[in-house]
Symmetry: C2
Subunit: 430 residues, 2 copies
């Protein structure tokens, strides 16, 4: 299809009703790894309506960008971005600003927005969804969580499938890759990270992957979508993986499980959630999600659904963004958002994976008695290192209670303690 003669931009902001044979005019924000991959992909033989990048906002205009078509206007100031009246703004800048300001402005003008920016959605999701709803403008973000697995938009369109009361999963591929490698190679997380960076499997700055913030942001987005909750990221129990040792992984194995970077939420009564590395039994399906793979389980009226697949990667993210662009450009496409409700989130009661170590520990039965006197009951335990190490999975209890019990152990037995959450094994197979 010739693109030299572009259709004249009308004065009506609702370009989604433009004729289906004209190309979709995209303003691209950000031309990093995913942005370049997207720019490359739109120039491949079309699998749907043709897409043309008319403007690309970049940090440095002088830097060469071979992936962009020559017709694209490369700019480093966003104020002229809407002059050419794009059909869709694709936001791949990442971070909060200027992403928030530009996305707000686009939605207020009735210009559809596609973004893969989980940070933006986690912090400003309620505001952006509200503007999109008011102006009936599509705001799509399939690539923000499990970029390679289409499910978010599906649930947004299907209210009966979305009668969900809880979810769990592994949504950060980098931390899952590092824990898998640390387990299999019996090495430390930072050593695994160095290998992963050398292989191009981890970002140059992986801090949000390591400290659990990336997973927590995705959890907030999922809580917006499935529970209509507006939750503050800072209120969510969030822990990273850097302090997980090869020894923790080995001990988890002796208890029939491993440690995975888990997100968990349940709102069948009050809302409880966390994002943290947790003990997962080998019989749980999350235990088999290894390397960079992601998985999400949602629980509702009709049982449990599982979505599983590649979590990230520039190619798959770009393809998902492009599918969102096509979706946003359908005739009469509009947002399907209903208002979020502001919600408090508490840390859930769970079983715990505990480890005690000392030169000489008390007998296991004495440890179990001491724990029981603080209301913590041992489900199963192992002892190794000639009696110097005690590891156990407890029954479900509050964080306050397990922490008091750990303090008591340290005081009474002079031991060191390590504490992880454990997630309940799925009853329905792996």
């Amino acid at each position: 299809m010739p693109v030299a003669t572009r259709p004249l931009a009308g004065s009506d902001a609702r370009k989604r009703s433009a004729p289906a044979h004209s190309p979709i005019r995209v303003a691209l924000l950000g031309c990093g790894t995913v942005g370049s991959s997207f720019a490359h992909l739109v120039q491949q033989p079309s699998r749907g309506r043709e897409v043309v990048i008319t403007h690309a906002l970049v940090r440095d205009r002088r830097q060469l960008r071979p992936s962009l078509n020559s017709a694209a206007d490369v700019i480093d100031e966003w104020h002229t971005l809407f002059d050419a009246e794009p059909d869709v703004v694709v936001e791949l800048l990442g971070g909060l600003e200027p992403a928030r300001t530009i996305v707000r402005a686009a939605l207020q003008r009735g210009i559809a927005v596609v973004t893969a920016n989980k940070s933006l959605l986690a912090v400003h999701g309620a505001e952006l969804r509200s503007i999109a709803a008011k102006t009936a403008t599509p705001l799509l973000f399939e690539a923000a969580v499990m970029a390679g697995v289409p499910f978010l938009g599906t649930f947004a369109r299907r209210p009966h499938a979305s009668a969900i009361t809880g979810l769990g999963g592994i949504v950060n591929g980098t931390s899952n890759y590092l824990l898998t490698r640390a387990r299999d190679e019996r090495c430390g997380i930072l050593e695994a990270l160095a290998d992963a960076q050398a292989l191009g499997l981890a970002e140059p700055d992986p801090s949000k992957d390591l400290d659990g913030v990336d997973a927590a942001e995705k959890l907030v987005v999922l809580l917006q979508q499935f529970g209509r909750f507006d939750v503050a990221l800072s209120e969510l129990e969030t822990e990273g993986i850097t302090y997980v040792t090869p020894d923790d992984l080995a001990r988890a194995r002796t208890l029939g499980g491993t440690i995975k970077p888990v997100i968990h939420a349940d709102w069948s009564h009050d809302l409880h959630a966390f994002a943290a590395p947790a003990f997962v039994a080998d019989t749980d399906l999350l235990a088999s999600v290894d390397g960079g793979e992601n998985a999400l389980t949602v629980r509702g009226t009709h049982g449990r659904l599982v979505f599983r697949g590649p979590g990230a990667g520039a190619g798959v993210t770009a393809a998902t963004v492009l599918d969102d662009v096509l979706e946003a450009s359908r005739p009469a496409a509009q947002s399907t958002f209903t208002p979020l409700r502001s919600a408090r989130v508490a840390a859930p009661d769970t079983p715990w994976f505990i480890q005690l170590s000392a030169g000489r520990l008390p007998e296991p039965v004495e440890i179990a008695d001491l724990l029981a006197s603080h209301g913590v009951f041992v489900q199963r335990s192992t002892v190794d290192g000639a009696g110097s190490r005690f590891s156990a999975i407890t029954l479900t209890c509050t964080r306050r209670r397990i922490e008091a019990a750990m303090r008591a152990c340290r005081a009474a037995a002079g031991c060191q303690t390590v504490l992880f959450r454990a997630v309940e094994g799925s009853r329905h197979g792996r």
Copy 2:
């Protein structure tokens, strides 16, 4: 919302552009288990636009149907069905006729159709998709495969996610339940069936579940959707589960796997597919899909995606049908079908799970030699029953070759043989 004063039906058949606040007028075909569940569900507090059943087509008008609202017109002749100009026809009759005739007539009139009828789609899918495309009318069938897991409509809307070259899975819950029960209780399939029927977990007439036709029909629908193939059901290698014995399951276990009712297809080169019970290694994710659960794996450019969840049940099917009704009623909703291409489907080369038994079998090494002389190579094997039973998984070969080798074994050793396909274990965890 009051429904007594219905909006006047306009002369325009395109009711999808009716104002979003008016109820969606549904003509319901069939009021069996799923139909009754659907009729009940639309009277619950609304999760989307209100839905009203204006007409219900049934076999016997005199039979009481307490699930229907009193305003619904109960008819047993379909010719008056379109007089009231419904927005959506919901087809839950099952079978080919009169379903085909009515669905054709509706689509030709531009009336959206929602169906859960996999038989209809497997046999007349190409024709119905073509009419829907020509008249730009929605034809939705999310409930036809893995009724509880929304994925078909998602891929239909997302051309880049749909760059798929193969799939595999378990899509018949009844046969999976029966094989799971036969394995765990060490009983025969028919005994398991009697138990399942007593518990209401199997249809009164489960023949399509038992003989593999239900799974084969779903595979044809998936080939239409993911490969754009128009494949004749009769050309698909289809086998049922009735001949699977507790002994087969026990022997599969000694080889580190089990037998599952599998569908499989690959079109990275030519199209190959089958629907049959097959050996699945314990390390494959399908091995853990037990009971009535379903799972589907799709493989494409960006890796492997897995969708898993409840396969059937009246409640979940009705909810999925209702979500399709809402989807079909969105402003400017229309079919997204591109034409199917007529295709031949061949049976694939796979590994095989073979069993030989006789009063006295030759030594395993002699059996392996005999098989090798026919170009069949043993991957791993076990011998039990004091040397009277030999079980093995072979390397990949053609059906012709394995059958010739089995004949040679029967002739040379006077033994009985049993043959199943084996699916390759997934390399990426379970």
